[in-house]
Structures are given as structure tokens and as C-alpha cells.
């Protein structure tokens, strides 16, 4: 089975290479009266099916790395190697797509032009977007193959999770949050499982929604070069695409703010392993997560 998965990945890689080369060759042949920007638009949209298909194939390979593991020193595998790979690929995509997308938007708002031609910003943005789409396709494929739902709040568990989240919030916010959601803080703090309540209630759902939003709106925007898209739909997709970009900028800041002081999380997303009682805040604030034994209870993600 493993050899079949590898074969699919190799075939996917070859097809991406051939597909992208054909699209670039067609755009740069001079047969069409396209400028740099329009050529890139067509190359991007024609490459997308290959990129998405390759992502699905790599997701199958990522799923092969799924499974709970405990090291002899008691460390547990918090993320599978496949998840870690997908996370860093997604990071690379954001590093390329976010600043270039932001400049396209801000440049228009401020009405200024840099000495660098605008089409180069679009080109880098499309490369970044392709990497993001590849990672999203890989994660969808990975999650459907493994059936892993450990980052989702199980049915009937929202009350416990919202209570747990209250105890993870800073004391200055806890009271207001509890009052808003009518949470009884006299109840004991529930134990966190493999992931913190903040990760399950805030981080994962919001990342999923915003990634879905930027992916769908981006595909609609790119799709207009191959199928007619009504003006209103295009306007709505463009507006929501920018909104999703701004939300991602904010989410990224929050993600880094949350993970940096919990250094064990940084270690886990690099090495896949988590050793210490996790994920403790490195300085001050008293959040404590699950024990290593508790983490070992489920599969890695």
C-alpha cells in the first residue's frame, strides 16, 4: 500500500511539472496578446487542478505517518510528521502570499506604486497561493484518510469546553467572558485533553473557517479566467478574499502570541514530540494543559 501511495505522489509531481510547464509555455509562446499579469493569471488558473491533485496525493502519504507514539523517555508524539510537514508548507505559502496580497490591497487604497512592477507582486502571490492550496488539499485528504477529529469539540461537549476555555483566559477577561456566555465559574476546572481548550474552541475552528473562506473566494477569483463569473459574485468574492486576508493577518499574530510563550508547542510543531507537562506558559500566567500521559491517550494529529 505504501508503494502505491509513493507512486501516486511521484505521478502527481510529474503531472504538476508537465502541467505547469505546458501552461507557462502556452502563456509565453506569444500566440496570445497577453501582458505579464494576464499571462500569470492564465498560468495560475491552469496549474490549479494539478496543484490540488498533487496536494491530495501528498495528503495520502501524510496519512501514512499518522498514529500514536510514546518515546522511552515518556515524550509523546503530539503531531504526526505529516501534519508538521503540512503546517510548514502552509507557513511558507502565507509568507509569500500574505505580504504580496496586502500590498496589492494597500497599494490600491494608498494609490501608490513601488519601483517594482505590480505583476511581480501578483506572480509571487500566485506562487504563495498555489502552495497554500496544495497544503489545504493535502490536509483535507489527510483528515479524510485518518478520520482524525481530535481538534474538534465532540457533540455534547461544548459546555465543558467553554468552561475550560474560561480558565485558560487571563483573569481580567474571565469574568466578562463567563458573564457573556452564562458560564458558572463555581464549577471545577475540567481537565484538558490532548489539546488546550483554546486550541479546540478558538484556534482550530477559526483557522478552518478562514482558510475555507480564502480558498473558496480565491478559486472564484481565479476561475473567472476560464468560466464566466457574474459581476456581483466576483465583487463579493473579492471583498471576502480581502476580509479573509485581514483576518489571517490577525489570526497569525494571535497564533504566534499564543505559541511563543508555550515553548513546548513550538518544539512539538518542529520535532512532532512533546516531552514536558504541556503546554505550560514559559513565564508567569498559570495555564496548564494535559499531562504527557493524557496526550498519549489519543493518536497524534
Amino acid at each position: 500500500m505504501r508503494i502505491v501511495t509513493w507512486l501516486l505522489v511521484v505521478v502527481g509531481l510529474v503531472l504538476v511539472g508537465v502541467g505547469v510547464a505546458a501552461a507557462i509555455g502556452q502563456a509565453s509562446s506569444g500566440a496570445q496578446p497577453w501582458g505579464n499579469e494576464l499571462s500569470d493569471n492564465f498560468t495560475f488558473v491552469k496549474a490549479l487542478p494539478f496543484v490540488l491533485g498533487f496536494g491530495v496525493a501528498v495528503g495520502l502519504l501524510m496519512a501514512r505517518t499518522y498514529g500514536a507514539k510514546v518515546r522511552s523517555d515518556g515524550a509523546v508524539r503530539r503531531w504526526s510528521p505529516g501534519t508538521v510537514f503540512g503546517h510548514w508548507v502552509l507557513t511558507l505559502g502565507f509568507v509569500l502570499a500574505l505580504p504580496t496580497g496586502m500590498w496589492q490591497y494597500l497599494g490600491g487604497i494608498l494609490d501608490v506604486n513601488l519601483p517594482i512592477p505590480l505583476y511581480l507582486f501578483y506572480r509571487v502571490h500566485y506562487i504563495g497561493a498555489s502552495i497554500v492550496l496544495f497544503a489545504v488539499a493535502a490536509f483535507v485528504s489527510y483528515l479524510s484518510m485518518t478520520g482524525d477529529r481530535s481538534l474538534l469539540v465532540p457533540r455534547g461537549e461544548w459546555g465543558r469546553h467553554l468552561l475550560g476555555l474560561a480558565y485558560e483566559l487571563p483573569p481580567s477577561l474571565r469574568g466578562r467572558y463567563a458573564k457573556l456566555l452564562r458560564i458558572d465559574l463555581r464549577q471545577p476546572r475540567p481537565p484538558a485533553g490532548k489539546f488546550t481548550f483554546y486550541e479546540k474552541v478558538v484556534e482550530f475552528p477559526s483557522w478552518s473557517i478562514v482558510l475555507a473562506l480564502i480558498t473558496i473566494t480565491g478559486l472564484i477569483k481565479a476561475g473567472r479566467y476560464v468560466v464566466p463569473v457574474p459581476g456581483f459574485v466576483l465583487w463579493l468574492a473579492s471583498t471576502l478574499h480581502v476580509a479573509a486576508m485581514v483576518i489571517i493577518v490577525i489570526k497569525l499574530l494571535d497564533h504566534l502570541r499564543y505559541t511563543f510563550p508555550r515553548w513546548s508547542l513550538m518544539g512539538a510543531i518542529t520535532t512532532t514530540w512533546m516531552k514536558e507537562r504541556a503546554p505550560a506558559v514559559g513565564h508567569g500566567a498559570g495555564e496548564r494543559g494535559s499531562s504527557a500521559a493524557g496526550i498519549a491517550g489519543g493518536g497524534d494529529t
Binding site: L106, V249, I250, L253, D254, L256, R257, F260, M266
Partner: protein
């Protein structure tokens, strides 16, 4: 390693503060009102405030990491 990550985080938060500045100032210029309308102005204002707020929170964490790393070093 922590120090390098903290420094990169600090650079990222400063860059985002720059973005927030352009969002906030653009929300109040007549050109945006004429070109984009009041909804875009409000979105820029809200986006700018949120980006600035979270950038400050990240910068604070990075500074804490830098100072705690300096404090843990032997004299």
C-alpha cells in the same frame, strides 16, 4: 533559539504595526471615502485597530522572551 524566534516575532509585529498605521490613516482620508465608501472605511478602522492590538500583544510576548532569555544567561 528562543532569542532568534523572539527577534523574528518582534520584526513581524513591527511590520504589522506599519500595516495597521496605513489601515488607520487610510480610514480617515477623503480619497478612501470617495473611492471605497463608508463600509470600507469602517473595515479599515476595525482591521487597523485589531492588527495594532494583536501586534502589540505579540511584541510584548517577544520582549518577555528576550528579557527572560537574558536573565537566565550566566553573568
Amino acid at each position: 533559539m528562543r532569542r532568534l524566534v523572539a527577534l523574528l516575532g518582534l520584526v513581524w509585529s513591527l511590520a504589522n504595526l506599519g500595516v495597521a498605521y496605513f489601515f488607520l490613516t487610510s480610514a480617515f482620508v477623503a480619497k478612501t471615502a470617495a473611492k471605497e465608501g463608508i463600509l470600507a472605511q469602517l473595515s479599515l478602522l476595525l482591521g487597523g485597530v485589531l492588527i495594532a492590538g494583536f501586534a502589540v500583544l505579540l511584541a510584548r510576548e517577544c520582549l518577555r522572551m528576550l528579557t527572560s532569555a537574558a536573565a537566565s544567561e550566566p553573568a
